[in-house]
């Protein structure tokens, strides 16, 4: 057998844990998420309420969905941004990009630098307004991208450049 089955994996004791990524994101991201919730979920709720008012026969069917949507809207508006700010962290080392995200469902992911295919700094209209940027590190896997949102524009650009340099060093077609 070419490699032993325990290769690379340390003897994991029960008390070994994965540590948090070192860097936090900008506080401005809280504003960004709040505005986003207001625009997206607020408009959805408004559309539902308007259709309830205008369309009499559908009212009985739409009551429960409207209540559910209202609860979701409130959670997205008041809870999600703060919670996300507490969870979202990131770190870029020589070997890998490491980020954690989420709120109700949280997730951390690690993408090795040797498999990086593209590095983008993406800025939507809202992000541009707040001077924020999302760092998107993609690998050959179509679902393996690491998105780090809520970075300062300058930080994201620097990180993108650094990653591009690291990725250039590794050979092969990274599949």
């Amino acid at each position: 057998m070419p490699s032993n089955s325990n290769h690379g994996a340390p003897a994991l004791d029960p008390d070994v844990a994965v540590r948090l990524p070192r860097l936090r994101i900008e506080r401005r991201a809280i504003i960004w998420w709040t505005i986003r919730a207001l625009l997206l979920w607020g408009s959805l709720l408004a559309a539902l309420l308007v259709s309830m008012v205008l369309w009499e026969p559908a009212r009985v069917w739409l009551t429960v969905p409207a209540i559910v949507l209202g609860v979701i809207f409130l959670a997205r508006l008041c809870v999600e941004p703060w919670w996300r700010y507490a969870v979202h962290r990131w770190e870029i080392t020589e070997q890998a990009t490491y980020a954690s995200k989420g709120w109700i469902v949280r997730e951390w992911r690690v993408a090795p630098s040797s498999r990086i295919q593209t590095v983008d700094a993406v800025r939507g209209p809202l992000e541009q307004l707040l001077g924020l940027s999302t760092l998107r590190v993609t690998t050959a896997s179509s679902s393996g991208a690491v998105n780090i949102s809520g970075l300062d524009r300058k930080t994201a650009e620097d990180a993108a450049q650094r990653l591009a340099l690291v990725a250039e060093l590794s050979e092969g077609d990274a599949t």
Binding site: M1, P2, S3, S5, N6, H7, G8, A9, P10, L12, D13, P14, D15, V16, A17, V18, R19, P21, V60, W61, T63, V64, P65, E91, T93, Q95, A96, Y98, G102, I104, V105, R106, E107, W108, R109, V110, A111, P112, R115, T139, A140, S141, S142, S143, G144, A145, V146, D173, A174, T175
Partner: protein
């Protein structure tokens, strides 16, 4: 060996192959632009004639009255055939391809010109297939699979169609080219290579007086044929696994409707005819449904059986060595043939899916996890075996992957909490449906049975939860990560650990309370993400660390240092 006669058939007609090779040579190392086979035109001419035939038959033989009303289906058919043929001719005129030292290029398109080039080292698979009309005309359609993003449905590199000899030569060039590209001593260029191997085969024929004087890459082929390792062939009893399927009813409906429609255009009413044998009123509704299911099932099963034999006739899965890499080759088909060559260096693992309804008969679908082959292709190029018994699927998978036969290893079961999570979700789903329906039913807007239907969701969901829980499993076997999950189709995927790029560990609030995490291994191949859902949280970290060796080590720390 089922594939041999066809291949030697191509070699026994050395003229065509030699001519093709010479014209390639004449073009020099850079290759010249070549067109598709002119026979495409003839095939299209015949096809448009054939598409006119039903109309001619209907008028001439069955004396159907020639009016627009009665003839519109035939007119549609004829128009379809003629338009298709004209489109094909335009495509034939404007399509050119060439093989150069570094890449294969294709130009096509009349209104929108397209130019596509694929570097040799990006070629993942070379696939030839032929429909019946191609086979009669000695044509082959060549598809070059080249790592296009399969998930985005990017169009493949297709040459439709070349003569059989040309297709054979092109395949040889593309698959053997790799040897030259990889030879450390700077291999000869493709044009030269042909000269070289030809002179080789000539010297062979000189020494053996006759026999091998045939085709151009003959020397290579002779050697290859010895090294081919056949992994699986067709067993006719596998047809059993293809008879029973939901699609059988669809097929039956299509067949019966087609028969009814065809008969109706010739003035025969099949419904009327059948009522002579069966009294519809006497049967009642239940009887009609049962009879329909029976007849539909039998017709569908027969259709599926015939379909299986035509699709998998002379099926063979073999390992074909070529240059530095090997190819997994499948050949199959009676009327339309298909040959797929998959680069083994690109194969990252194997998936075996076991559909829920047929698990009792141990039915299994076997596919390879690889880059560059379309997952949504109807012809399923990733499937290395027809649907068949699980034992054989596992045997073949073991021979494809090598030791230590991952599929025979036991998987680690997931904690009971995973079952609890599924039961909670099933209950939540039922409650959600119920709460949506409750108010309308209570206020009398909706009928009562809707409430019962909503209540029925609950036991179904609970049963599904138990089945889904029992499917869960994961293991690390040698160089492979093995994950098993799935409700409707329990799928066991074995993925090479060095192919895992990104690792993600996910945990919802409910999962956190239950002490569970979901580990995802992302890769460039196959479905691009393979998950082990609801692993115990402590085990999740170990699995993540082992699934991608060394990747997350630098982010681990001991929370309470050992003394």
């Amino acid at each position: 060996m089922t594939g041999a006669p066809e291949r030697s058939g191509a070699l026994e007609r050395p003229g065509a192959l030699e001519r093709a090779a010479q014209s390639l040579e004449a073009a020099g190392p850079d290759g010249e632009w070549r067109g598709l086979s002119v026979r495409v035109i003839w095939v299209d001419f015949v096809r448009s004639l054939v598409s006119l035939m039903p109309a001619v038959l209907a008028i001439g033989v069955f004396e159907v009255e020639a009016s627009l009303e009665s003839l519109w289906p035939f007119a549609l058919l004829a128009a379809w055939g003629v338009i298709g043929a004209v489109a094909d001719i335009i495509r034939w005129i404007f399509t050119r391809y060439r093989v150069t030292e570094n890449e294969i290029e294709r130009r096509t398109g009349f209104l929108v010109r397209r130019h596509r080039s694929v570097r040799h080292d990006r070629i993942r698979s070379v696939d030839t297939h032929a429909k019946l009309r191609h086979r009669i005309a000695g044509l082959r359609v060549v598809t070059v699979g080249a790592g296009q993003q399969t998930n985005t449905g990017e169009a493949a590199f297709v040459l439709d169609a070349l003569t059989r000899a040309d297709a054979e030569l092109l395949r040889e060039l593309l698959l053997q080219e790799r040897r030259d590209a990889w030879e450390p001593t700077g291999g000869p260029r493709d044009g030269d290579r042909i000269f070289q191997s030809e002179s080789e085969s000539e010297s062979e024929s000189a020494s053996e007086s006759e026999g091998a004087s045939s085709g151009v890459p003959a020397g290579a082929q002779e050697r290859q044929r010895e090294d081919i390792e056949v992994l699986a062939g067709l067993r006719p009893w596998w047809v059993v696994y293809h008879l029973f399927s939901i699609w059988a009813y669809l097929l039956a409906a299509g067949l019966l409707w087609g028969a009814y429609w065809l008969a109706a255009t010739f003035g025969v009413d099949l419904l009327d005819l059948s009522s002579r044998f069966v009294d519809w009123n006497e049967l009642g509704w239940g009887g009609v449904v049962v009879l329909g299911l029976l007849v539909g099932g039998v017709v569908g099963a027969l259709g599926m059986g015939v379909n299986f034999f035509t699709a998998y006739w002379r099926f063979e899965l073999a390992r074909v060595p070529s240059a530095k890499t090997t190819f997994l080759r499948t050949r199959r088909g009676l009327f339309s043939t298909r040959e797929v060559n998959r680069d083994e260096a690109r194969i990252r693992g194997v998936s075996i899916g076991e559909p829920l309804l047929w698990r009792w008969m141990k039915m299994a679908d076997t596919t390879v996890i690889t880059t560059g082959l379309g997952l949504w292709d109807m012809e399923e190029p990733t499937a290395i075996l027809p649907r068949g018994p699980r034992g054989i699927a596992r045997d073949v998978a073991a021979r494809v992957l090598g030791e230590p036969r991952p599929f025979t290893m036991p998987v680690e079961r997931h904690p009971r909490a995973a079952l609890r999570r599924r039961l909670w979700w099933a209950t939540a789903l039922a409650a959600g449906v119920l709460s949506c329906v409750a108010l309308p039913v209570a206020s009398g807007t909706a009928p009562m049975w809707l409430l019962w239907a909503a209540l029925g969701v609950w036991p179904l969901g609970l049963a599904g939860a138990v089945i889904a829980y029992r499917a869960l499993g994961h293991a690390i076997v040698g160089d492979y990560l093995m994950v098993r999950a799935g409700l409707m189709s329990r799928t066991t995927s074995v993925l090479r650990r060095d192919a895992v790029s990104t690792i993600a560990v996910r945990q919802s609030i409910l999962q956190k309370r239950l002490g569970l995490s979901t580990v995802s291994a992302m890769t460039a191949a196959g479905w691009s993400v393979y998950e082990a859902p609801d692993v115990a949280s402590s085990e999740a970290l170990r699995l993540a660390a082992q699934a991608a060796p060394g990747l997350i080590d630098e982010f681990l720390e001991t929370s309470s240092p050992e003394i």
